[in-house]
């Protein structure tokens, strides 16, 4: 009895926020682990003759056998998973399926070499879009919520509802039609490389970044607006208004501390959405990014490249959501001042 009481006391000294965060991190890591298992096991579902399909019909049985051995298909799956996961952690993503020959000549490239410049380009494009989209949509969302049911609110709402319904490629081609081919302001194809100077890079990526911005601003603005309206309807906001607090004080002192969690969630959700939107937009503008690489790899069924891209996209998505959850736990006033 006494023992359990002491243990209980010791437990209380650990701040509850910390335990919640540790739990959430653990859950996130577990999800990441299961996702890697799913991505890894995708190769298990390939039809048995895919070695033949990759190497061509003329491939000798010995060549196919050597190829299967290189992939480790002669070893048990569990052992292979840990080998694969270990390699991924050390940055070795395997070699591409393309460039292999029926004669056994191997001109395939290292997956990381294929991915690395593409990843840098995609991050460049995504951050360009995010830098514009995040402040813009927060401003639009918060003002629309504060002046809700005004004409301003209605116009912003109707516009964003329409933009949400547009497929990304439609937005992209409208921009190309207007700004690249009818009025020749920007190039329609975002042809950039490592050697392109920064200003030129920004200029050439303007249209894809603009398309991405339009797509996520709509989502983000609507979610921000809904979150703020939800917040303003809380009893403690009404209480603050009833006791005569000034409007500025209500917003800054009562609403804002509680608003961080929903706002950070909205930002993270949409940055995660950016990860997906980037695939289609890159294809529209022939932007040399990771999304384009993944689509090409899917068409040619180059599984190692698809796996690596899926891993990067899914990992980013999970980590962003995890980050948002941790931030919202940290900033939650109820958890910060436990009774």
């Amino acid at each position: 009895m006494l023992q359990t009481k002491i243990n209980h006391r010791v437990f209380i000294h650990v701040h509850p926020v910390l335990t919640t965060i540790i739990q959430r991190l653990g859950l996130g890591l577990l999800t990441l682990f299961v996702v890697t298992v799913i991505i890894f096991s995708s190769i298990e579902f390939l039809p048995g003759d895919f070695g033949q399909a990759v190497l061509g019909q003329a491939a000798l049985p010995e060549t196919v056998e050597a190829f299967r051995r290189e992939l480790g298909l002669d070893r048990p799956p569990v052992e292979r998973y840990f080998m694969w996961a270990g390699n991924v952690l050390t940055g070795d993503l395997g070699t591409s399926f393309s460039g292999r020959d029926a004669s056994g000549v191997d001109r395939s490239r290292d997956v990381w070499q294929l991915i690395q410049p593409r990843l840098a380009n995609t991050l460049f494009l995504a951050s360009m879009a995010a830098l514009v989209a995040v402040p813009l949509s927060l401003a639009l969302g918060i003002t629309a919520a504060l002046y809700r049911n005004s004409i301003y609110d209605r116009v912003v709402n109707a516009t964003t509802l329409t933009t949400i319904s547009f497929p990304e490629f439609f937005v992209g081609y409208i921009l190309i039609l207007i700004f690249a081919t009818y009025f020749k302001v920007f190039p329609s194809l975002a042809n950039i490389s490592d050697s392109t100077p920064l200003l030129e890079k920004i200029y050439r990526s303007t249209l894809p970044a603009f398309a991405l911005t339009l797509v996520i601003v709509a989502h983000m603005m609507r979610m921000t607006r809904a979150a703020i309206i939800n917040l303003l309807a809380s009893p403690y906001i009404e209480m603050a208004q009833l006791k005569g607090a000034s409007k500025a004080k209500v917003i800054l002192h009562h609403a804002l501390p509680n608003a961080w969690a929903p706002i950070v969630n909205v930002i993270a959700f949409n940055l995660a959405y950016l990860v997906v939107g980037v695939v289609v937009v890159e294809v529209v503008f022939v932007y040399p990014g990771l999304g384009q690489l993944m689509v090409d790899a899917v068409s040619s069924r180059d599984i190692p490249v698809v796996q690596a891209c899926a891993l990067i996209f899914a990992g980013t998505y999970i980590l962003l959501n995890l980050f948002a959850d941790v931030i919202s736990i940290i900033t939650n006033p109820r958890l910060l001042h436990p009774r």
Partner: protein, 309 residues
């Protein structure tokens, strides 16, 4: 009441209620509800009806076949080829009409399958609330942690791109969302007394799912069906646009945009040519907007789910 609901002199409440109800037919009731619909919802319903008619009677409406090749590639807009022809000499207007049938058909089939899988598993999970519920819920958590377009791309690279694979993969991925919603709304209903009574009567799982719970969770599910259809429709369009969705020569709007995208470069010489790839994209957008408008109104009608007031 001096109305003739008292045939044998005694008053019956049930009779009176049927009397009031009988004054309006079902059609009249629907019309009464429709009259209160805002213009956006009306616009949405008219557009959806138009699309459905085009999709159902595609073979009657289209002047040419969807894979019929004419010896003139990239013909301009004209009497015979209303929207010109594409790179292979196929009539764009006919393909647009057949595209309605293929694109909407596949999207509806996928959404139905997603609801069949996600809805029934969600109901079973909510009713049983045992280890099965735990396993399904955790599994869905993991599936939802991967962005669905990325997941779909990965699965398509393994199983190959065919219409059947596409329907099945997207349906399974979207069933996760349906499962979440169905389970959440059904949890509120399974604790009701009438469900308990049905269990005590000895009704089977199928009866409880169909007759006791489903009718009580219909409104959110119907709204979700509209929204899910939009997501599925946009995902399939995106995948087809990327070249890994619906495969040629089947006409569908996503791949039509991809096939004719090159024409945009000629905007300054011939604006109509540049508009050709935009029309299927606009067709996708218009249908999605229309469905969204109707769902918005439906949600306002059936529940207190509104963010104002």
């Amino acid at each position: 009441m001096n109305t003739p609901n008292t045939t044998d002199g005694s008053y019956s409440a049930a009779n009176e209620v049927t009397l009031v109800k009988a004054r309006r037919s079902v059609l009249q009731n629907i019309w009464r509800t429709l009259k209160t619909a805002p213009p956006t919802a009306w616009f949405g319903m008219v557009v959806i009806t138009f699309y459905l008619i085009v999709a159902l009677f595609a073979s009657l409406l289209a002047p040419h076949g969807q894979a019929q090749v004419f010896p003139m590639a990239y013909a301009p807009w004209s009497e015979e080829f209303i929207l010109g022809t594409d790179a292979l000499g196929r009539d764009v207007f006919s393909r647009l009409i057949y595209g309605a049938q293929n694109t909407i058909g596949i999207a509806v089939a996928t959404t139905l399958l997603a609801f069949l899988i996600g809805g029934s598993l969600g109901l079973i999970a909510a009713i049983s609330r045992n280890w099965l519920d735990q396993v399904l819920s955790r599994f869905v958590d993991v599936l939802m942690a991967i962005p669905s377009l990325i997941f779909a791309l990965m699965l398509l690279s393994i199983f190959g791109s065919s219409a059947m694979n596409l329907i099945f993969i997207i349906a399974v991925l979207d069933a996760t969302r349906v499962f979440r919603l169905t389970r959440a709304v059904a949890l509120n209903v399974v604790v009701m007394d009438y469900v308990e009574a049905a269990k005590l009567r000895g009704e089977g799982l199928g009866w409880i799912m169909r007759r006791e719970i489903l009718p009580n969770i219909m409104p959110p599910l119907v709204a979700e069906f509209g929204l899910r259809f939009c997501f599925v429709f946009l995902t399939i369009a995106a995948l087809s646009f990327l070249g890994v969705g619906i495969q040629p020569p089947t006409a569908d709007w996503g791949s039509m945009v991809r096939e004719n995208a090159g024409l945009i470069q000629f905007a300054e010489y011939d604006l109509t040519a540049a508009l050709t790839p935009m029309i299927p994209a606009a067709a996708i957008a218009l249908l999605t907007v229309a469905v969204n408008f109707v769902v918005d109104w439906f949600l306002h009608q059936t529940s207190g789910l509104r963010d104002e007031h």
